[in-house]
């Protein structure tokens, strides 16, 4: 009988996992924060499209 923690410690996290996590954070940023810094003019459209979700998740908005 192995303990739950023992089976978990067998998981080896590869280096590309950090790239994947960074991608997740970038996507979160684009949806919740993009105000023109990364995408320029097209960000206005993105901003308006995700507008309700930004408010609903409590992220500051104008």
């Amino acid at each position: 009988m192995t303990s739950p923690a023992a089976s978990l410690s067998a998981v080896r996290v590869p280096k590309w996992a950090f790239a994947v996590s960074l991608l997740g954070l970038i996507v979160t940023y684009l949806v919740l924060q993009e105000n023109g810094l990364a995408l320029g003019a097209s960000s206005e459209l993105l901003h308006e499209f995700f507008h309700d979700g930004r408010h609903a998740l409590g992220v500051p908005c104008h």
Partner: protein, 252 residues
């Protein structure tokens, strides 16, 4: 079993999608009501406005109201998937987090802690505001403050986990009490150290609408983050699947 990072990450994506859809449904059925009320307040300010959407300084609106409802829900689902992926990676890395617990307990506690750090703590310091409240001039400042509290919350969770690990030789009530006291003190410091929001609530925004929105937002955040912890926990805990395994793999 869940022994590779790839399988853990895919479960994180699935948990994020499920919790994101649940949170998006809360948005459609609950949060949308005060958002509509707030947009009506906004529309009443501009005589030229037609009462739809969210205009920038009177220019033509880019996205219609219906698209904003769909986009808002879609945004929540996308954030759910992205957060689920990061959640799964952090879970795989944090081997000391509730090390004695089952995978479900560990995941549920992790989801609850992440909710506290990145949702409840910022909500307490800078409560969510509906449309028609924020001042465009201060949005960068408010965003920086908000992200500062989020980072502080994550540092508190990390520190609590480290402290609990350091105190693992202590008897149980001492250990839990010490960690809870340290977390409470750290939360108090964060709430006191960060400055108040630079914005004031406009006089034409009804208090009932404001708080209905804030509580709806909190419910939605709880659905998202605790939901990820619960669903991910169910997906990674071997106990959930044990009963189904014999039926799924018949021998010939």
């Amino acid at each position: 079993m869940t022994t590779t990072y790839r399988s853990i990450a895919l479960r994180g994506v699935a948990a994020g999608a499920v919790a994101g859809v649940a949170s998006a449904l809360v948005q459609l059925l609950v949060t949308e009501i005060p958002i509509r009320a707030a947009l009506a307040v906004e529309a009443a300010r501009e005589p030229s406005g037609d009462g739809h959407g969210h205009s920038h300084g009177g220019e033509e609106e880019l996205v219609g109201r219906g698209a904003q409802v769909v986009g808002g829900m879609l945004g929540v689902v996308i954030v759910g998937v992205a957060v689920g992926l990061v959640f799964a990676t952090a879970y795989a890395l944090s081997k000391r987090w509730f090390a004695a617990g089952t995978p479900f307990t560990r995941s549920f506690a992790f989801g609850a802690a992440v909710f506290g750090a990145v949702a409840l703590l910022p909500w307490l310091k800078y409560p969510a505001n509906p449309p028609a409240v924020g001042d465009p001039e201060t949005v960068d400042h408010r965003t920086a403050l908000y992200l500062g509290v989020v980072v502080a919350g994550l540092v508190i969770v990390w520190g609590a986990s480290l402290l609990a690990d350091r105190l693992r030789e202590q008897s149980q009530p001492v250990r839990t009490t010490a960690v809870l006291l340290a977390v409470t003190a750290a939360v108090a410091v964060v709430l006191l150290a960060f400055p108040a929001s630079p914005d004031t609530i406009p006089a034409d925004m009804p208090v009932a609408v404001l708080w209905q929105f804030r509580l709806s937002s909190l419910a939605q955040l709880a659905t998202l983050y605790v939901g990820i912890g619960v669903v991910f926990g169910l997906l990674v805990d071997p106990a959930t699947r044990r009963a189904k395994t014999p039926a799924a793999a018949p021998h010939h």
